[in-house]
Symmetry: C2
Subunit: 236 residues, 2 copies
């Protein structure tokens, strides 16, 4: 929103729409990060779209799965599930089955504390000992995930007073001035004890998206006259 007010409607231009999407996701991620750090809530964000082969995940895929898992493990005394299912009996049955699965998941899952210490140990002793991945591209991804997650936690527990040159930090985001990778690498090489303290189970923020390999884009009313659209797997 600059130089010209943007109308709240679908962007016609392919390139412009993609650009807006890219910027929007970036901004959204920043918002989630802010909310998470400022308010001390557990959060994650997953944005999956046809514009990207790989989904955008914050703070990392592994963390995201954990946080989502926690969300689903929430006690039943809130009305979430009730409200989520009150209109569809089929969904109710599915949700019930899911709950059972989730319970088993919780039973088997490492605790937050153990998980963190495990990750820190692995990071300190050598990532390759911990990561057992064949494909090199996957390996890179995993490393990046881990580093981003650690970097985020470091950032979270950093305080201006403990920063080397607190007053000298001019950037909008004072901590983590290098790339997440750089910040995290440095963190790994120093003591990582500060990273062990877990966050409270306050909140979760998730951003994700469903199927659609093709770029079937919506437009003004006439766009669905192409019958092949209705045959899309999404509608079957």
């Amino acid at each position: 929103m600059a130089r010209k007010k943007v109308q709240l409607q679908w962007i016609m231009g392919d390139t412009a729409r993609r650009t807006t999407y890219k910027k929007g996701v970036k901004g959204l991620m920043k918002k989630v990060k802010e909310l998470s750090i400022l308010c001390g809530i557990e959060a994650c964000a997953v944005v999956y779209s046809p514009y990207d082969l790989q989904p955008e995940v914050w703070p990392s895929p592994v963390e995201a799965v954990r946080v989502i898992g926690e969300f689903k493990c929430r006690p039943e005394n809130d009305q979430t599930k009730k409200r989520f299912n009150q209109e569809n009996h089929t969904r109710q049955r599915v949700a019930k089955a899911k709950d059972q699965l989730v319970k088993q998941q919780k039973k088997n899952r490492r605790t937050e504390m153990e998980n963190l210490m495990y990750q820190c140990q692995a990071g300190g002793k050598g990532l390759q000992e911990y990561l057992n991945i064949k494909d090199s591209s996957d390996l890179m991804w995993s490393i990046d995930d881990r580093l981003k997650a650690v970097g985020h936690r470091m950032e979270y527990f950093h305080h201006p007073a403990t920063q080397p040159g607190g007053a000298a930090a001019p950037a909008t985001v004072p901590v983590a001035q290098g790339t997440p990778l750089e910040v995290a690498l440095e963190s790994l090489e120093n003591q990582m004890l500060v990273d062990i303290a877990p966050r409270p189970p306050d909140s979760l923020v998730t951003v994700g998206y469903p199927g659609g390999q093709d770029m079937m884009l919506p437009g003004p009313y006439g766009h669905y006259e192409d019958l092949s659209f209705w045959g899309h797997p999404f509608f079957t």
Copy 2:
């Protein structure tokens, strides 16, 4: 971010933190809505936190469930699940079981088109025929959900050219100048055919949060010395 630059760190003051949270969630929702409309992607947002009894959901709880379901139904040809599970064998097993459930869910679920038409019919003929809910507060919630969802779709397919006084709209968000409820009610009373056209299965945005009834808030290093914290259900 006004009047004073805010440091990216946990907000100490209880009231200030809550206020920031409230404003932040509102902003986040708006961002998700923008991304969804501007880029034509399916999205939902769920924010569940100790600051609210009821979770904040966009566009509505029912829509959110549908969108999340679609996300989980995505074909395996992307690397999401692979990446999400590559570090935890337990989670892999759970995910597998979930996939099977999801397949059954997909099999039983109404199609997008049928769902929308059904909702529109129910809206036109009388909500109470369609909603079978005893508790009046739940009823109110359901109605609000439905209206918000319809309102959102109406907004999505509106174009400035089709608006009555297009040039006269001064607001930042030109469409839906009344409350969502007002807009949706008016929509229901007019033809709803425009609302039938579904969106493409492009993307999904979800925002949610996990457990934590108590307000166990994180702080600088010393905050976890209270042993009762470690006994929190979250860590067992």
